[in-house]
């Protein structure tokens, strides 16, 4: 489903040139749960941004669902993105001015679904994440764990093929962290491909495979015995 070859991303700021990703080759299949690990600054987030179609590689190819998207414009990527990818962030990134329901509804608006269908889908997603009772609240009225559940609901509501999670438990205590990880694992069980960046060994154990990055290069790939 996802295949990168010689994927390289270089950032240029004035005089300084930083190679964030250096000839990365990875291959992710449908239904996998992959964790990307590595120390700060190793290129994890850059990789996730490219895989999430938020950024483009400097060189190298990126095959996404059989298309080489490395040269796609923002518009083309946005179109692919909204149909296929859901995002979960470390800092939740909920919109303060929208209620829980409206936050989850947002991706469906951009997919152009009818109000009725949006309603059903949002209700389902909220129930799935056990947060329905809070649907009229605003993000700042929720605990961190609740906020992340809303964020996951938002990621899944459009029924994407992939969920990209960037340190989804980074801002949560362990109990809430486990809750979120279990939700992701459930989604994976139901067929959603999950790519997760994490610092936490504990979270990585939910994944079937761990890709280790160091200084922009893949240094190790290993399979983990699934917790479930």
């Amino acid at each position: 489903m996802i295949k990168t070859s010689e994927l390289t991303r270089i950032f240029r700021a004035d005089e300084v040139e930083t190679t964030a990703l250096n000839k990365v080759n990875i291959d992710i299949n449908e239904g996998e749960f992959v964790a990307v690990m590595g120390p700060s600054g190793c290129g994890k987030s850059t990789l996730l941004n490219i895989l999430g179609l938020l950024d483009t590689p400097s060189t190298g190819d990126f095959m996404f669902l059989g298309e080489n998207v490395s040269g796609y414009s923002e518009r083309q990527r946005a179109k692919l993105r909204k149909r296929n990818i859901g995002f979960v962030f470390q800092n939740f990134n909920l919109i303060d001015q929208l209620t829980v329901f409206e936050n989850v509804e947002l991706p469906l608006i951009y997919l152009g679904l009818s109000a009725k269908e949006r309603r059903t889908r949002v209700e389902t997603a909220l129930e799935q994440m056990q947060i329905s009772h809070r649907k009229k609240h605003y993000p700042n009225q929720l605990s961190g764990g609740q906020q992340q559940r809303v964020a996951v609901a938002r990621a899944v509501v459009s029924e994407p093929k992939f969920i990209l999670a960037d340190e989804p438990t980074g801002n949560l205590d362990s109990a809430h962290g486990d809750e979120v990880m279990n939700l992701l694992a459930d989604l994976n069980q139901n067929g959603t491909t999950i790519i997760m960046v994490t610092h936490s060994q504990r979270d990585a154990e939910y994944a079937q495979r761990v890709i280790m990055l160091f200084d922009g290069q893949v240094i190790n790939e290993k399979l983990t015995p699934s917790k479930n």
């Binding site: 987030s45 941004n49 999430g52 938020l54 950024d55 923002e74 518009r75 946005a78 179109k79 993105r81 909204k82 149909r83 995002f87 962030f89 800092n91 990134n93 909920l94 919109i95 303060d96 001015q97 929208l98 409206e102 509804e105 947002l106 991706p107 608006i109 951009y110 997919l111 938002r154 459009s158």
Partner: protein, 802 residues
Amino acid sequence: MWINYLKIAFRNLRKYKLYTLINISGLAIGIASFILIWIYIIDELSYDRYHRQANDIFRIVNVHDFEGVGENSASSPFPVAWTLRNEYPQLVKNVVRVFNRQLPRTLIQHGDKTYNERRFFFADSTFFQIFDHQFIYGDPNKALDEINSIVITESTAKRYFGEINPMGQTFRVEGQLDFVVTGMIEDVPLNSHFTFDMMASISSLRKPYGGQLPNTWVWNPCWTYLLVEEAKEEELESLFPAFVEKYFFDAEKEHISLYLQPLTDIHLKSKLDYEIEPNSNASYLQILQAIAFFLLIIAIINYVNLSTATSAGRAREIGVKKVFGAYRHQLVYQFLFESVLLSLFALGLAIILIDVILPGFNSFSNKDIHISLLLEPWYLISVTALGVLTGLLAGLYPAIYLSVFNPILVLNNKLGQVAKSGLGRKVLVVVQFTISIVLVIVTLNIFKQVDYLNNADTGFTKENVLLLPISGTKLSRDFEAFKEELMQHPKVLSVTAMDDIIGVAHNTHEFRPEGFPEDKWQFYPALVVRYDFLETFGINLLAGRDYSEDMKTDPEKGMLISEAMVRHQGWASNEEAIGKKFRSLRGEERIIGVFENFNATSLHEAAGPFVLNIKENPNEIRFFLKYIAIKMDAAHDKETMAFLEKKWMEAEKSRPFEYNWLDQELEQLYHDEEVLGELSLNLTLVIIFIALLGLFGLAAFMTNQRSKEIGIRKVFGAGEASIMKLLSFEFARLLLVAIAFAWPLSYWLIDEWLNYFAYQTSMDWWSFLHGAIIAFVLAMLITTSRAFIAWRANPIDTLKYE
């Protein structure tokens, strides 16, 4: 989608209450002022257009040019109108003369009611066929057919008759003629180049003029309007030279030309001699227009500045939306939608504001504009379009600016890299400051010029001179006796009489100076006066002597001329002019004195050659003398006025005692400038207010944004002064740049404006400094106060907040 936009918009407006308030009030005030000026301008442009045939109505202008001296007369000799009609029936559909006997007032009596009517005219019976007025009673085609018939306006009828139907009622005019009301019309719209209360049939004057109306081609007291066949005005004008040649007075005709002035041009473009009412000036409308646009621009800049500055608060929303598939154009639409929404809301407030301001605005600018005007379809559409357009203009830059936010940076809390430089914002702040400073400077200069016009040395004394209109009264016959009685009072310093108000109007009379051939009559501006004219008006005598009652030959043989006349005749010195001969219609006269130039008309024109002529013959006095001028002691009081009234009533029982002060009459000449000055003052205050409002918001935001920096600095020992300096310095720099732009721009604008006046005040250099200082002080006050608040904050709060 739109509902989502709407929700987000409202919640954001609520979240940023301060900025919302600033944005909406700024836009509302900006839009309100813009609409007000706009309807003011529309009203100015609408003058006389309500007549159905407005485009085919023209006024005849008579140009008399005697080597640069003469007149551009708005009025024509009596025979011009009907001679033209008879001469060119295929081109001239209809004609009408409007005449006020060159008298400022007409005495009207009905029962026990007596008024001096200022807006009383005579006209041909064709008047209401050419000009459209709404008849409540009577027939426009016949109302003025009969002699001694009169059409009055509704409010005039109320004044005399209350609610009674005025048809068939009679007025006694000037104590002599009885006029029957044959029509009542709605009040003349204020957007007319002249308004009247009473219009009488001109045929009624045949009898007083001895059986027929004057048929001289020299005296030109009739405002003459032609209804010309459509698009034939140029053809008609081309025939005028032949017409002048055929009919005008031999000695004059080679100096006379006629042209057609479109009716609809009169109010804004006409500055002729003998206008019925002072007109306005198209260039003032341009100034107002410019100010209106500046106003709106400043309000829009506020919006742009505040919405881009506060965009950090929207960054996450933008990032998330992009991540979840929003296209850029969808975000642009969203932000435009928000700004249009805000602008329409501001428009609503603006209309309420206009409703509140309008009564004061109307009375100040002498207009009659109703808020209901805005409900007419065309206005409604335009006003709504204005709201939408303002919103789009205000929203466009922020929309583009916000929609390019890179979601990766935004969502990783690296906003610093997103909303950094703010160069655009700085440019806009400079633009705002520049406009504000320019307007302060220009307004100060407009005021200086208006003040100059009102107080300038016109060459004669204006203060404490009382004017009594005497035409048609017994006093025009018994003037000398009346004068003697007035002079008994210690506070009456000097008394004279004249045929027009000095500095406001005058006539031209025919003369033949020494050396000119027999048939070369020259028409020079002149006033007919009585003794003590120079003394009453404090006009300096430069050579020779003043008129003297001891010199029996003065009235017949003596005349006074201005220094400019000496130059005009090419005489070497004032002394040389004494004794020179001037032939007038009465015979040979001699120059007995030369006086210092004074401004016989407004200061829009330069002081030119002038003649003072004294009349002694009782009939001439009666015909010519229209005003008594009384120079009073500055310490005159109620008792003095009571004395004057008593003397007046003894001499002229039948007329109310009415008077004017000369300085007030002269101020009327600069009414336009005064309205312009007042308007631009008020608008400038509004602009400064809006600009400061925006500055306040921006300063508040920028100090917020730097709260962490301030916290760190404070932890390491920064005092309030250094923090305030830190934050104000940035604005101070922008201000200096603005001043650098504003000064040359102001110079140019003021220079352009002053050039319109023959008499200009010097440019007010202090105003340049004042404009800069006002802007600087206000801006610094606002930014340092915000900085002070920031300094007071506890660094623990600001630093922990990461």
